[in-house]
Amino acid sequence: MYRFILSGMCLLMISAGFSQESEMAAIEGGAYIPLYGNDSLPVSVENFKIDKYPVTNRDYQKFLLENPKWKKSEVRALFADGRYLAHWQDDSHLKPDELEDAPVTNVSWFAARAYCKWRGKRLPSLDEWEYVAMADKVSADARKKDGYNEFILSWYERPKSFHQKVGSTYKNYWGVYDMHGMVWEWTSDFNSVIISGETRRDENQDNNLFCGSAAIGSSDLMNYAAFMRYAFRSSVKGNYSIRNLGFRCAQDSNEKENSANEAL
């Protein structure tokens, strides 16, 4: 009898362990030249881990159960604006035509951060995210390939792409899904993008609005796809909750995956 229970527990743990094992992809660090960077110098990215999929509505539901202060009715306006979880009908249920396995969107940066913290993780930095997002199916940096940019650009023109299950777009070089073609994603330092709403002006050296902005320019003119990502980031604030904006979590490579799940 005892043995039964024990082995049952083992099984549980194993299966839990298994699902956690496959949850994140290990990313081997390196250097890359970001669209906006230190005078177009390479930026180095350390080894780290990142969720293979964006956080889903289902995942987020669990988070809300344990963290009621992030429920729609409880959340404070400083941390999430009026559109927070606008696609949920109440504190714990999605609206009928929404998908549980679609990426959770309409979440603020503060909420995304709290979620990752709860999972013992953190949001990826902008550089980490961009680093992973350079990959197509076969290469780590596909930014010069036409097909890669076309795919991203075509997403900008496809309405309601948030309405699909995670994993529906391609698995990239690192084993990570949905970096493009599904939703925008929060990064920990989204507010490090120094471009104003008036992008044409950012090119002249107007130091008035942004100190040091003269040092920043675009390193790859053809990389329109990324350009729009940066423009998007510069348009949002920490408490904005947007229909096309979700997130996934990351972790330093020396951290143990998942501490919160033990609590589940």
Partner: protein, 488 residues
């Protein structure tokens, strides 16, 4: 304000440098007129009537200047380019071109720009009718699911293009984000029988003209200016067949014609008509008896003609392959009694700037490097050069590029009596900072300058640079002089 008058848009001077840009330039006393317009008081608030093309709101007539509330929504949506061909348009108010805005000189426009929550992208609006940096672009930058409000006073009468100016600007325009805003003169435009709103635009799709299916935007073709579609009002056949514009014989028709671009200039022509009047480029210059008028990308024109005979009049871009092979066609159907005497038989602001400058690299040439290193005993010229660098790094933020300072905050270094009076004091201030009230050129300043952490040589150079510029007395400051002022 006897006559409408157009002023150079100082707002965008910097933007214009490297772009195809059209400027409404007129040279007479425009400042006076603008000042007058600025002073026009607004009496009431009213909601602007906004119309989808090809309709225009009713004339402002004799109404007084008002506070005009304009409510616009950015919508990204799929629609039909031509039979069987779909395209995802980015629009102001769901149409291409966006809603027509009709204002009057002196109106204070309170602009509400909403970005629909389902949209993917941030957007903004640059109205060529606005006197202000970026034409409102920066203050109107708005994320999906949000709304911004900004306001401006319309000062210069004319017909102006508005468009989205979010990066990549070309793509936002190419997807349909443009429209027209009319600023009527105080007395209003003369009455006519019919008014319509037409805007040309060029589109770039993955496949050729007519290839069915949802066609994505093709950035490469856009850059090459290789348009697949050149159309009026956003799609092929927006104003042909059952959608034709209509008029009666004997009526005077006024067309507000804009060109959103992004690339192509329009040779606008109505087959079978001569324009009685063209407000050239939408400005106050009126030309008469015009066959074809040029409408630049990001520009507009007002054309008027009287319909003399019944039948169909075809509107085209007379760069004629565009009309017959790419869609640039529209129709006016005129009904009524023909006048046999006349006719007996049948009948860009497109500011497109590639975002980002080129990558600049520092010279790595050894000789150049050597030349750029300071020599042991710099002569005056070298000191000036080196001093200029120090100035640019350390002083310019407060004292400004030509030493003019900032009124009542940072004293000027240019033609400065305080500076020229006492070089030792000047050295001391650079080395040890200064606070408390001082009087420079008759103005009182009371601020704090912190001690500058620079070497004796740098201090000597920068002071020499300052003393030998902007009308100062030409003192050459040496390292020894600086050393003497150092406190221990």
């Amino acid at each position: 304000m006897a006559k409408p008058n157009f002023k150079f848009k100082s707002t965008s001077i910097t933007l214009l440098l490297s772009s195809i840009l059209i400027v409404f330039a007129s040279c007479k006393n425009d400042d006076e007129d603008t000042r007058e317009a600025e002073d026009i008081k607004v009496s009431q608030t009213m909601n602007a009537e906004l119309t989808a093309p090809p309709q225009v709101p009713k004339p402002t007539g004799r109404r007084k200047a008002k506070k005009l509330v304009v409510d616009m929504e950015v919508i990204e949506e799929e629609s039909e380019m031509t039979d069987g061909v779909k395209y995802v348009y980015w629009t102001f108010d769901g149409t291409v071109p966006g809603s027509f805005i009709r204002t009057k000189v002196g109106d204070e426009v309170e602009f509400h720009l909403k970005n629909h929550p389902d949209n993917k992208l941030p957007h903004n609006i640059d109205l060529h009718a606005v006197n202000g940096p970026g034409g409102g672009a920066e203050s109107s930058f708005v994320a999906p699911g949000h709304e911004v409000v900004f306001s401006f006073k319309v000062l210069n009468p004319g017909l102006y293009v508005y468009h989205c100016a979010t990066a990549p600007v070309g793509m936002h325009i190419a997807n349909g984000m443009y429209g027209l805003i009319l600023v009527e003169p105080e007395e209003g435009l003369p009455e006519v029988d019919r008014e319509y709103y037409i805007m040309q635009g060029d589109f770039y799709t993955k496949d050729e003209f007519g290839e069915p299916g949802l066609q994505p935007f093709d950035m490469k073709k856009a850059i090459d200016e290789d348009a697949d579609y050149v159309v009026f009002n956003g799609k092929v056949g927006a104003m042909t067949g059952d959608n034709s514009l209509t008029a009666e014989v004997g009526e005077t028709v006024r067309l507000y014609v804009g060109n959103g671009g992004p690339n192509l200039v329009s040779s606008f022509h109505v087959i079978g008509e001569i324009f009685d009047k063209v407000y050239v480029e939408g400005g106050d210059l009126v030309n008469e008896n015009v066959q074809t008028t040029l409408i630049p990308a990001g520009g507009a024109a007002i054309v008027e003609f009287k319909i003399e005979a019944p039948g169909e009049y075809i509107l085209v871009d007379h760069s004629i392959f565009r009309a017959f092979n790419k869609g640039a066609l529209a129709q006016i159907k005129a009904e009524g009694e023909g006048n046999k005497k006349v006719f007996s038989g049948k009948i860009e602001e497109g500011i497109y700037l590639p975002e980002g400058g080129g990558i600049q690299e520092m010279p790595v040439d050894e000789e150049e490097l050597a030349a750029s290193r300071p020599s042991e005993k710099p002569d005056l010229q070298e000191k000036m050069e080196l001093g200029k660098n120090v100035y640019g790094r350390t002083c310019v933020a407060c004292h400004q590029a030509s030493g003019q300072g900032i009124p009542s905050v940072f004293p000027p270094l240019a033609e400065s009596d305080y500076l020229n009076e006492d070089v030792k004091r000047a050295i001391d201030i650079v080395l040890h900072g200064k606070s408390g009230e001082i009087t420079v050129n008759g103005e009182k300043y009371n601020s704090v300058m912190t001690a500058q952490n620079i070497s004796d040589q740098e201090a000597a150079n920068v002071l020499t640079y300052i003393y030998n510029n902007w009308g100062n007395n030409g003192t050459e400051v040496t390292e020894e002089m600086v050393k003497a002022q150092r406190r221990n």
